[in-house]
Symmetry: none
Subunit: 125 residues, 4 copies
């Protein structure tokens, strides 16, 4: 389900947050689905339960999970996190655009990169 990269400089709990967030965003973990328990996921990843606990706490704070004490952690429904996520990505996109523009990358080059991701849609839409 998750593979940790111990060569990565980022803390483990952050890697776990990232991977799980991706799984939730891409729909692999469905709304209201029960997540593996703190202890079981810790065992599976050979990591201390506290570390998973911290990751789950972060995900809850970011709105991707909700916790019922004594029962487990569950995946939040999509519309509760979608708005925030979209806003964050657009911000990142704008900042990246600024850097690219400064380097002299033309609007045309950007459009080509986009067309590679959104095939079939003509440019004169």
């Amino acid at each position: 389900m998750i593979v940790l990269d111990y060569r990565d400089k980022r803390p483990i709990y952050e890697q776990v947050v990232d991977k799980l967030e991706n799984l939730i965003v891409c729909g692999a973990l469905e709304s209201n689905m029960k997540m593996p328990s703190v202890r079981s996921l810790a065992m599976e990843l050979s990591v201390n339960p506290n570390t998973i606990q911290r990751a789950y706490a972060q995900l809850e704070q970011d709105g991707y999970l909700y916790t019922i004490v004594g029962r487990g952690n569950y995946v939040t429904s999509e519309n509760e996190w979608k708005g925030g996520k979209k806003k964050a990505l657009c911000k990142e996109f704008t900042e990246l655009l600024a850097k690219m523009k400064e380097l002299g990358i033309s609007r045309q080059e950007l459009l080509e990169l986009i067309s590679a991701q959104y095939p079939g849609e003509e440019e004169n839409v």
Copy 2:
């Protein structure tokens, strides 16, 4: 020349690297220009010389500076770093696009964000 933000979570040396890289990319620091000495820049920013030393080392590794022992640090000529930088940014851009597409952000929305950065250029260029 450089203003540090001590509340930034990133380490100081990384901020210095970032700022200097920006100054080089935007052309404020010209090719083959002599950089301020480690000690003088450390004094100017009120930080430990080790911190500046580390930043310079990082910039040299990234190809933005070259060192002449006993003489100082100099700015690399543009064509030596431009290709790598551009490639890195395009890769980042493509990965970000993939995430945005997954979230359901339309091609149209992207074009609007781009138009905000590249004003004056019509969409049917």
Copy 3:
């Protein structure tokens, strides 16, 4: 009669206490009225009978219910809990006022908040 919020951080029994207390305070549950049995309410809410038992015990301790062993739980008459409740709320109110004053919130602002709750009563009453 009662709707539980499983995403609420508070324990279930505490939510039950709160909801029942509200129903008693607002008069929906009249004095000396018989409460539903522990088991039946537990069934209705799909929770463990222990949870309801604990809630009833708490309500009894707070003076809102009295128990007749072998018969069931009954709502206390109003005058037995009203005094204590009022005193507790006023204490809470005073403490909150102190905090607000410390933050520089003016008397005028407080009056406006009150007017929003007690509409129709003029300020010079």
Copy 4:
């Protein structure tokens, strides 16, 4: 500086957060003042450093502190937290008002409680 109440059911870190927040709000801890280090405060309170760490992290997230890794924790300037705090208190105030109104506490009684806190200001302001 801080006294813990071990009979309190709330977690220790939460008590620490509460006390420190109060000290900051009331001005006892001035802007940009250096807080005691994690380890020293832990020693002073006879508590594990992790516990203090968690409290500081919470306070940072709430905007009362900012952290410079390797240097220490510092008190945020007032205007960075004042708005959020005021909003939170007003919300609490409104909710409390609703409860009091339900219990039949009159507007007049509230005004008297307020006058006790804001002496000298006449009612017909």
